[in-house]
């Protein structure tokens, strides 16, 4: 095989940590301002993952980027992760900034709060994407042009929305039932259709700026090869064990196509697969091997740039897909009654939260949108006793719901109490209140 026929390797790593909820009690609701999140636990987990994964993995990636000219990677850092960097890990943030300085790292856009807003509110969704893009630009000096939605949730409509927002690329799961036997290793395009006028109007307010791209390119995760690393790397019962960089590279080459999109959680390195599994040495040896064999890595934007074929196949996702579970659907977050009710109740507060104009309450409301809160309530595999399938910081899905519903109740009460105006006291505040009621 000549180098021209070698597929590109597109590595994208997801970096995210949720704010886990505290053991809030009903007696605290409406009593002042109870803390919703478990600062101690969040700090402890963040530091643990920083030491095991973020810091060593970033150091290694930086070294590889500086050593091998044809090596590059993409990251999507959730806004709530960046918030936690501020609180618990400035060292982690600066290590990502050093990666950005190599000029060989692409940062992707996502919803700031790693939220499920795309399922519930277009307005909220576009606002969050906008906030995230701005933040990424501030921190890393580049405006994202490729979008990836929370947990790779994707549909035809979402991809058109992303296009109208100014994105030229979007990532999605290469789901078997949508590929119908086709390879995920080429760029795809969503079917063209016109979105309703209101959608265009809402999007217009949060546009990225610049020209709206004519087309949006969908890059699909090659889940088999991605999961060989992310899930199976240390599985001794797997036929591929132990996975060497040589063998894995053979598989990549055999898989062929334009680009092999290896999408995975960054925590794969050092946290899901511990250091003693050899995951870091595996990662270290790949770029050198690729260099020798004439294989180059490319970021999502480069993959799109290098696609010169006239025909781009259509990826048709009428129903939302995601990268979660065997089902590749929304059931990890929206399968049972408590999950649906929790999300419904949360978004029923949107109008009140936004009218209130209190940035603190708005932030709390948005922090409750993080998808993990709903994931922890999942009971899909719960009855089978397969507890470990769903990693959760809580005892049970019901404990997750208890904490969440308490936070939500408190937020609701705070939205219902008359707004405090600091300088306004006595008569003046009364007048203010009557005025507000009239208007």
């Amino acid at each position: 095989m000549t180098p021209q026929h070698m597929p590109l390797i597109c590595l994208y790593f997801q970096v995210h940590q949720p704010y886990r909820l505290r053991d809030i009690r009903i007696t605290e609701i409406g009593q002042g301002k109870p803390e919703y999140f478990d600062a101690e636990k969040n700090r402890a987990i963040f530091r643990k993952v920083a030491e095991k994964c973020y810091l060593p993995a970033n150091a290694l990636i930086e070294e590889l980027l500086r050593t091998y000219p044809n090596f590059s990677v993409a990251y999507s850092l959730s806004g709530v992760f960046l918030e936690q960097c501020k609180e618990y890990g400035p060292d982690v943030l600066s290590s990502f900034q050093r990666l950005a300085q190599t000029g060989k790292v692409e940062f992707l856009a996502e919803t700031y709060y790693h939220s499920l807003s795309s399922l519930k509110s277009l307005e909220e969704f576009t606002e969050q994407v906008h906030i995230h893009a701005q933040r990424i630009e501030e921190l890393f000096g580049q405006r994202p042009t490729v979008f990836r939605n929370t947990e790779l949730i994707y549909s035809n409509e979402l991809s058109q929305i992303a296009r109208l927002m100014g994105f030229r690329g979007i990532l999605a799961e290469g789901a078997d039932h949508l590929l119908n036997g086709r390879s995920p290793n080429v760029p795809f395009t969503p079917p063209t259709f016109t979105l309703p006028k209101e959608i265009g109007r809402v999007i217009h307010q949060q546009r990225q700026g610049g020209k709206t791209p004519e087309q949006i390119t969908v890059l699909l995760k090659n889940y088999r090869l991605s999961d060989d690393v992310a899930f199976r790397f240390s599985d001794r019962s797997w036929v591929g064990f132990p996975l060497t960089s040589d063998r894995f590279t053979d598989w990549l080459v055999q898989s062929g196509g334009h680009s092999i999109n290896l999408f995975m959680d960054y925590e794969t390195f050092g946290e899901h697969q511990w250091e003693d599994t050899g995951i870091f040495s595996f990662l270290r040896s790949l770029p050198e091997l690729w260099e020798k064999r004439g294989i180059r890595a490319a970021t999502p934007s480069q993959v799109i740039d290098l696609w010169k074929e006239e025909e781009t196949p259509v990826y048709d996702a009428h129903h939302a897909i995601s990268w979660a579970d065997m089902e590749r659907d929304l059931s990890a977050w929206q399968e049972n009654a408590i999950q649906r009710s929790a999300l419904e109740s949360l978004f029923s507060l949107e109008k009140a939260v936004k009218e209130r104009g209190d940035s603190n309450l708005l932030d709390l409301w948005r922090l409750l949108q993080t998808s993990d809160h709903f994931y922890y309530m999942c009971t899909k595999y719960w009855s089978d006793g397969d507890v470990h399938k769903y990693f959760s910081p809580y005892d049970s899905p019901y404990e997750a719901y208890r904490r969440f519903s308490h936070a939500l109740c408190d937020l609701k009460q705070r939205l219902e109490t008359p707004k405090e105006k600091k300088p306004a006291r006595g008569l003046l505040s009364l007048l203010n209140l009557t005025f507000k009621q009239k208007s």
Binding site: I26, A337, R340, T379
Partner: protein, 404 residues
């Protein structure tokens, strides 16, 4: 090859709600369905009741029952037994002996006498009072001994055991070729407090008999137009093990928040007077109802009417009542110090001492309809895989492993 098990049990069919009798019945029926022939040896607490037990379903024809005259009652330690013998006629006392050690010795001797002609492959005994009988029979027949543990003396007394009973238990565990514990919770207790090696103990969780539509009373909301105040249920013996005081503490915390909630304490026991006094001292007299001992039918009704069921046991080897409540579609909050918490997925498990959090869970269930509804529908469904047929097949495998 058909297996023959010589089994020493307590009561058949069960006289008590939940607990050992129900578990033994389920296990015996499950073993029969798994092709095991059982000779069941039973002590019988009240001689006149023995005639009632003739009612047998056809599938139980394999059970050859031998009754042994005995005054033993499964839930009583030596203290309760002394009280009982005092109330007996002098004549009977002479036959059975005035103290518990003597009664157990008598039961043991008679049981062996009566099973001389049986030809078992395995001897299987349930809880400490049958261990002497089981050990003697296993020796006599020269067959492997399985001791099944449903509740230890440490559970019943909150770790203040009667030394004699504790020693009887340990002797039984040591003599056994295999121990079957009803939960990992109990298995750990045996390794930690009785010094039994873990590899000698197998865990077979209890199962639950399927609930028929007739057993399930319609929820109270459906038959009454006016919404009744929500009710929170305790069902169990009023002994230290079952945590009735913890239930009161939980109730007081709920009451402060929701004075409309009522509480039902169903069951009797040596702490009855204390629990009533404490309830009054806590100002709960107007919202707590004590029913005394309840029959099956009444229990079904209580489960169906309860907004949630709380089992705050201090140490519960299994806790079948929690599963019975779930089978009736009642949301449950159970003690983490229980075997049931190993199988209950759709419910809350809380440390027994954290009564504030227990109250919080009750209040959350009362406030959050989607939560209550999901627990009502999911919990019974999740029990479907926990059948006696399946659990008994595990016991059968244990038998086979001992014989091969």
């Amino acid at each position: 090859m058909s297996l023959r098990s010589l089994m020493f049990g307590w009561e058949y069919p069960p006289l008590h709600l939940g607990g050992l009798g129900v578990a033994c019945q389920g296990l015996v029926q499950g073993l029969i369905k798994n092709g095991v022939q059982i000779t069941l040896v039973l002590p019988h607490p009240v001689p006149t009741e023995s005639e009632d037990l003739a009612i047998l379903s056809p599938t139980e024809k394999h059970v050859e029952r031998i009754r042994v005259q005995s005054m033993l009652s499964p839930y009583e330690g030596s203290e309760g037994y002394a009280m009982r013998t005092v109330r007996m006629s002098k004549e009977l006392q002479q036959i059975y002996g005035a103290d518990l050690p003597e009664a157990v010795a008598h039961f043991t001797a008679m049981s062996v006498d009566m099973t001389q002609d049986t030809n078992p492959d395995i001897v299987h005994c349930h809880d400490w009072m049958t261990y002497g009988a089981g050990m003697a029979a296993a020796r006599y027949h020269d067959k492997p001994l399985v001791t099944h543990i449903h509740a230890t003396e440490l559970d019943r007394t909150h770790f203040h055991p009667n030394e004699w009973i504790y020693r009887m238990e340990r002797k039984g565990f040591q003599a056994a070729d295999r121990i079957i514990a009803v939960s990992n919770y109990t298995k750990n207790l045996l390794t930690e407090h009785y010094g039994i090696p873990a590899q000698k103990i197998s865990v077979v969780h209890n199962a639950i008999q399927p609930i028929t539509a007739q057993d399930r009373e319609p929820p109270i909301q459906a038959i009454s137009s006016a919404p009744k105040p929500p009710m929170v249920l305790f069902l169990g013996r009023l002994t230290i093990q079952k945590g009735p005081i913890q239930f009161l503490e939980m109730a007081a915390a709920v009451h402060r928040f929701r004075p409309d909630v009522t509480f039902v304490i169903a069951g009797e026991g040596n702490m009855m007077a204390e629990v009533i006094n404490r309830a009054c001292a806590m100002g709960l007299q107007d919202c707590i109802l004590f029913t005394g001992k309840v029959a099956n039918r009444e229990a079904d009704k209580l489960y169906s009417q309860a907004a949630c069921f709380v089992m705050p046991s201090l140490s519960e080897p299994f806790g079948l009542v929690a599963l019975e409540a779930m089978a009736h579609g009642t949301p449950v909050i159970i003690s983490k110090q229980s075997g049931a918490s190993e199988v209950v997925r759709h419910g809350f498990a809380i440390d027994f001492w954290d009564t504030e959090k227990m109250a919080d869970c009750v209040l959350t269930i009362l406030r959050e309809q989607p939560l209550a509804q999901q627990l009502r529908s999911e919990a019974p469904r999740s029990l479907q895989h926990l059948t006696w047929m399946k659990q008994a097949s595990q016991v059968r495998s244990i038998y086979q492993s001992l014989l091969s």
